[in-house]
Symmetry: D2
Subunit: 351 residues, 4 copies
Amino acid sequence: MRALICHAPQDLRLEASALDTLGPQQLKVRVAFGGICGSDLHYFQHGGFGTVRLKEPMVLGHEVSGVVDSVGTAVTGFRIGQRIAISPSRPCNSCSFCLQGLPNHCINMRFYGSAMPFPHIQGAFREELVIDASQAHPIADRLSLSEAALAEPLSVGLHAISRAGSVFGKQVLVTGCGPIGALLIAGLRRAGAAHIVAADLADVPLACAQKMGADETVNLTQNPEGLAPFKANKGRFDVMFEASGSDKALRAGLELVAPRGVIVTIGLGGEATLPLNMLVAKEIDLRGTFRFHHEFAVAVEFLNQGLIDGKPVISHIVGFDKAHDAFKLASDKRQAMKVQIDFKQSADATA
Amino acid sequence: MRALICHAPQDLRLEASALDTLGPQQLKVRVAFGGICGSDLHYFQHGGFGTVRLKEPMVLGHEVSGVVDSVGTAVTGFRIGQRIAISPSRPCNSCSFCLQGLPNHCINMRFYGSAMPFPHIQGAFREELVIDASQAHPIADRLSLSEAALAEPLSVGLHAISRAGSVFGKQVLVTGCGPIGALLIAGLRRAGAAHIVAADLADVPLACAQKMGADETVNLTQNPEGLAPFKANKGRFDVMFEASGSDKALRAGLELVAPRGVIVTIGLGGEATLPLNMLVAKEIDLRGTFRFHHEFAVAVEFLNQGLIDGKPVISHIVGFDKAHDAFKLASDKRQAMKVQIDFKQSADATA
Amino acid sequence: MRALICHAPQDLRLEASALDTLGPQQLKVRVAFGGICGSDLHYFQHGGFGTVRLKEPMVLGHEVSGVVDSVGTAVTGFRIGQRIAISPSRPCNSCSFCLQGLPNHCINMRFYGSAMPFPHIQGAFREELVIDASQAHPIADRLSLSEAALAEPLSVGLHAISRAGSVFGKQVLVTGCGPIGALLIAGLRRAGAAHIVAADLADVPLACAQKMGADETVNLTQNPEGLAPFKANKGRFDVMFEASGSDKALRAGLELVAPRGVIVTIGLGGEATLPLNMLVAKEIDLRGTFRFHHEFAVAVEFLNQGLIDGKPVISHIVGFDKAHDAFKLASDKRQAMKVQIDFKQSADATA
Amino acid sequence: MRALICHAPQDLRLEASALDTLGPQQLKVRVAFGGICGSDLHYFQHGGFGTVRLKEPMVLGHEVSGVVDSVGTAVTGFRIGQRIAISPSRPCNSCSFCLQGLPNHCINMRFYGSAMPFPHIQGAFREELVIDASQAHPIADRLSLSEAALAEPLSVGLHAISRAGSVFGKQVLVTGCGPIGALLIAGLRRAGAAHIVAADLADVPLACAQKMGADETVNLTQNPEGLAPFKANKGRFDVMFEASGSDKALRAGLELVAPRGVIVTIGLGGEATLPLNMLVAKEIDLRGTFRFHHEFAVAVEFLNQGLIDGKPVISHIVGFDKAHDAFKLASDKRQAMKVQIDFKQSADATA
């Protein structure tokens, strides 16, 4: 069994890897598709992000779907051949944060493909995987395994929406329309936002944003003042989601959001310099959002029922043997939206 | 009738000023005491703050108490001689923000002593004042007119608390223990905070903070790492109030506040550079707070009932003729807490 | 100009009625369609509801659309011929409730066709109407005037949803699938409910509920224990909306809703006997919801964009001359969903 | 070692009882004081309440304090002789409710002295007790062990306050001023309620309510219309706490509470008949509250710091040998407030 292991920046290897023993409450899964996430890219490009650094080789990946191959002796409700989306979130369920209902802040979290703790938590870009049955979410016949691998980034968007309070009937701005921003927009439309404006620096993500439900799109490269009309009357937007990681966008947001408005910041950027007096005078609420937990089940339900269609976000599907190319492709944000690896084949395929 | 008029930085004059005609819904008031606020000091020292600048002479002051001198023909419930606290907040009650229940964001706000709009809104540091009856709040016999002039800065603290959601039973940090911070601490104790830690750079404000109800005080000049123990387990505080205007304090707060914690920022500082990735990863909520509205009545009720005792905050009382000295005194934050002007006398008096 | 006036129970007359003079901020409108609401029916059948009684003849109706016929001299943004949905809500914008942002509790509310105050507030079932420009909401070309007259009952549903907090990603039960319940279901689907179960005593409303977005329907006449499986594990539903006005439904709801769940009760029923100990032990939250305000604009936006399709709710359209028949038809809840009056024609038409 | 065991209504026996073995994470405690709660009284008087019935003999009691006698091998932070308040709440920390942060709804809860599950959960009215170290809360030197036994009913009040959202600066009504109501009033004062009105049918509880912080008291036996003035302007109270278990009080509350007001119902009464149309039209929010969890630590902290003084609530202290008399005394709500049993002595003592 092979896994995709990052040894250092630009040093990505397909290597043999042992499989965990199947426990009674577990499933053995053949991995089908895996989406490349921003954090995977950071490990590949820079060996980490912020203060997080690779200190040992680590299997990447946490956005995966698969097919059940063996069923643990104590598991009920699953059968061999079942198609599933796989949650990468494995909280301990016993620390103080878990017992407050905040598993995404679990002090012992074992989230796939993360170098935050040491030893690192090995990821899910591998041909086979042993998971806890609680990580497995059956998918509908209508849903492809490729779409199922969107459940994870969609969950990030759904959690960001819940962090905003309610967006129902509201005026919403999204800055940054990469895969997270685009899936977030689909979530916002589903959550009942009345009007969604999407802004980005490039056309490819904006075209996708429109397919995902944005009412208006603004290309800030071509039209740097494109959001200025929304500054009128102390700012038009009730809620803004900052998904570009740019502090310039955040800064602009303080003028675009109404008094008592909420800005949810998703991007794990670094330092940002902000005019705090505007945040104070308008009583704006700047909130972080981090991963998700129970939203994974909701994301699968929305995809299963067709209440959210993630297909426009998948721009490329690449065979496992060409994983290195997949990462290069995913690095070009003006061409690529979500790039997925197909673990079942070696040849390229474009969605 | 004389008023205290700021013409330019350091140029403060006691000058004759005409009085508005008394309308049927109004009261004429002899002003008793007026507290010097941070924004008054900014006009005096720098001619403004942020992008706000004095463009014409302006009467300063908005923290005042007084005694009713004449009663408008349509006013009920007030009598000559009545001692009152005076709210400086005069929203229009008809703009879209007023009709959303957000009068502190009123687009036509006429808050005393503010150079935000032009013509500027003239302030309340004057011997006599004509006010709307709705601005007048009778005070209890037990309360001095000097204490009554604390209702305004106390309201700022109470509003900040309401912006935090609830502090009942919570662990709270206050950074910056000037008059606003100290009155806020009294409000927090009254609002049921379980444990209050106060931090400042100087001893005078910390001694006051303790009298106002802080459980622990930390002098960050003497003990720069004094808050470090609170970083354990992802941060101990449920809520932090930043009242120093220092971005260093805010920055430190991101490490001291627990996941999903709230930081309320009160100080109208300028730019701040923040490690946004920490705000994101801990899902911290950074909220602005600005002025107050209905909290003024609550502040008077707390003072009237003795549920909050503001006396320790008043460090100096200076006669009207020496107003310039009062402003110099108020500028020294290591000596002075709240400096009040006594409009009824010229001689100095210390609280 | 004729209006539909209720003189007493069963005594409904088409009578000549004078038109208000057009003010500068007003529009004169030719009324197009008007939906018959439960409260209209109560006046027609019983002369009122609860303690509210007709004390003088009153024009019924508050769910209307129309076409602009004249434009007041100070009005901008409207033109003759413009098709509009008309909000029946006319708060005073100056009482204490309006200034708290709660116009639906306005102490001087002038809601069309209401016998709560005396003199009664005359309604909108009339050929022509003079309205404030702020009541007029332009509709999209794609929307028929008949659908536009659903904006009002849809607003009631949207407000009920906002009273529930958030329904995004949640398990929801709706009891009572008349026009309000059915439009509410469309609102819930749009607001991102993950799973919607609809219950009623009859098949016609349940068939409509399904078209509006319910995932499961339960006919409690045919299957009285149809909801019992949802009692497992202390109750499955996060939120329940009671739109039948039956206290039996509410009572059952206490067993079906999870601990800390929310029950929003919409129906203006009378007395209800409830097992309070269950509400206490499960910490259930029972909330009233009453009318709407800013939700009217959101309802029109959802209809204009096609984000909600109200057409399945309109079961009958009846000419103005046969208004009495329309009321009889609307009284039969097993046959009729929303019955609308077509003010522009006399002949019958079925949607 | 003896325990107080209820065999049937009125059949209360002091009997020998075995002690659990001390585990490594546990403490052995000599019980000091135990307060008689309403549910203890129900078992004593009626053998249960609602559908809950005694099906086997059960040790009563859950409001206890004590002194540490032995310390388990793995316990840190406790020593022999330490005086503690003891939380009766023992959730499983692993069911779905515990993992949502709702341990008071734990599906496997082992709350002392409860006949809800079978076998019943034995109570804490016994001379010695083995507890988990996590149940033990050290008390300050200033606090008596008798006062420490109030931590439990105070926790119930604090939890009820948190269910109300915030009471800071609000107008509050409390109906029913027995021990729970009186401790709740102290909590409300501490939580910053601006004005507290207390109503009851008898003078003894009202006198206590006043000592605990009520601003006004109303004896509804002597003055049945004493609350009527608060009905003006759609109702004056922002929040009401119903602690009498009377549906008449709840019914009256719907007229006394303002639109969008909150009524928290604490009493585990039975059926109540309510005018739901008023709840609907005023958009009132009726919320249950049940037990507590993390509030126990807060209650101990408030008592330890002297921020809440519970002494006025303790009306009688009775020696363990006369426990039967203590229950008779506690049954007379016009004489007795909190009756405590002193487990260390046999002679009577009155607080």
